[in-house]
Amino acid sequence: MTLEEVRGTLDAEWLGRRPSRTDSIGAEVLSCHASDLMSDVLTSRGAGSLLLTGLTNEQVVRVAVVSDFAAVCFVRGKRPQPEAARLAEESQVPLLVTPLSMYESCGRLYTKGLPVGDKAKEAASCRKK
């Protein structure tokens, strides 16, 4: 599933710069992590995934950067705080806003076949002990 397909599935809109085909991050979305708990998100294998969240602070973007998320999508039409938007622009993290709830967003993506995070064929973000 490409980022653009994710956007369509979620009836979402791009915030700021829309990622182009040439972006390394613009390619495939490997899975999705849906959470408002960044502590949990940080323990997951985020590389190449979509981060679906209701949190709008800068930390969301930093977590996305640190874990190599492909994009962040804010649910319920929430817009990121200005500092978060600025940081995303700087770090080239694509941002989406969907009017849908977290539950419906997950449901649509799941139905469309976006794999569950830990089953996704992605390299480990952290080596298993």
Binding site: A27, L30, S39, T43, Q59, V65, K121, C126, R127
Partner: protein, 316 residues
């Protein structure tokens, strides 16, 4: 700056006219009425155009010629009557420096470009084309250099020594939640620039992020020191208190003493230390209540040649 100037000088000799010229040439025929010229120049936003007959360049006509024509009464006549016939052109395979010199010497705004073999008009070159072309090539060069830097500069292969380390230090202020993770993001950028592989970088960044949040949430602040060796990365995080009373408990996933405000911001789920452990190859934590905590993390660096399936997703 001197470096860029040298670079541009090189490019002026290396680039060929055909690489920077405008290829979609707007031209007129000798039979085009002079009165049509204004609309053609205005619509295309150009100040002059080649005059072409059967593909061959027969003249140039410019806005200056047009003004002179108006001045002389503007009597209906074809372009052929007012155009400059003594056309200076340039071949498409000449180096850019020739175009620069010729434009300068002749005081022209543009030169028609002709193919050497067929003698046909293939383009037009202006000073604007030259500047744009140079900038574009400078940028391409810069990008190539940057990509090389981000992807495969192996700083340790360049260093000639029996042992070498790079030390990076970050200071973190306690309570400064809005800056939380800023050091981890900086570290990540730096490691990638140093040519550390994306997977190792991610592990280090996540571990550092967690440690940084701990400093911010629980302490008055502290120091993160990262030591980069040839095959090991060591991350040391130190603070001056309050210390962890029961490390074993703190290591349990889900155990947290984080205040509510931190939880509301999406943190404090009790996953910090366990996650640091997960990201590291070796972890050691010493803490004394009232004195402070010292965390040591070691990450064995991935070696080149190992499959890195998600490198395409890794943000440079």
């Amino acid at each position: 700056m001197p470096e860029e100037v040298t670079k541009i000088q090189e490019m002026v000799y290396e680039l060929l006219v055909r690489e920077v010229m405008t290829k979609e040439v707007i031209s007129v025929m000798p039979s085009t009425p002079m009165s049509d010229l204004r609309e053609i120049l205005r619509a295309k936003r150009i100040s002059g155009t080649p005059v072409v007959e059967d593909g061959a360049l027969v003249g140039m006509v410019s806005i200056e010629d047009f003004i002179k024509w108006l001045n002389d009464g503007g009597h209906a006549c074809p372009v052929a009557d007012r155009m400059t016939r003594d056309v200076r052109s340039i071949y498409d395979d000449e180096p850019l420096v020739q175009a620069v010199n010729r434009l300068e010497r002749l005081g022209f705004g543009r030169l028609p470009v002709v193919a050497r073999d067929t003698g046909r008009l293939v383009g037009v070159i202006t000073k604007g084309d030259i500047i744009r072309g140079l900038l574009r090539h400078l940028e391409v060069d810069y990008r190539t250099a940057e990509m090389r830097g981000a992807r495969s500069s192996h700083i340790f292969e360049d260093i000639q020594a029996d042992r070498s380390t790079v030390k990076l230090e970050y200071r973190v202020r306690g309570g400064d939640f809005s800056r939380g993770g800023a050091s981890a993001v900086k570290l990540k950028t730096t490691l990638l620039r140093l040519g550390v592989d994306p997977q190792t970088t991610r592990r280090a960044a996540v571990a550092t992020y967690e440690a940084e949040m701990n400093l911010i949430v629980f302490t008055q602040g502290g120091r993160i020191a990262v030591e980069l060796g040839a095959d090991t990365m060591r991350i040391e995080v130190e603070d001056q208190g309050p210390g962890i009373p029961d490390i074993e408990k703190a290591m349990q996933p889900g155990f947290s003493t984080a205040p509510d405000w931190v939880r509301e911001l999406g943190f404090g789920a009790g996953m910090g230390l366990p996650n640091i452990k997960k990201c590291s190859d070796r972890m050691r934590i010493d803490s004394a209540v009232g004195k402070g905590t010292r965390l040591e993390v070691e990450i064995l660096m991935e070696h080149q040649g190992e499959p890195e399936r998600d490198s395409a997703q890794a943000r440079a």
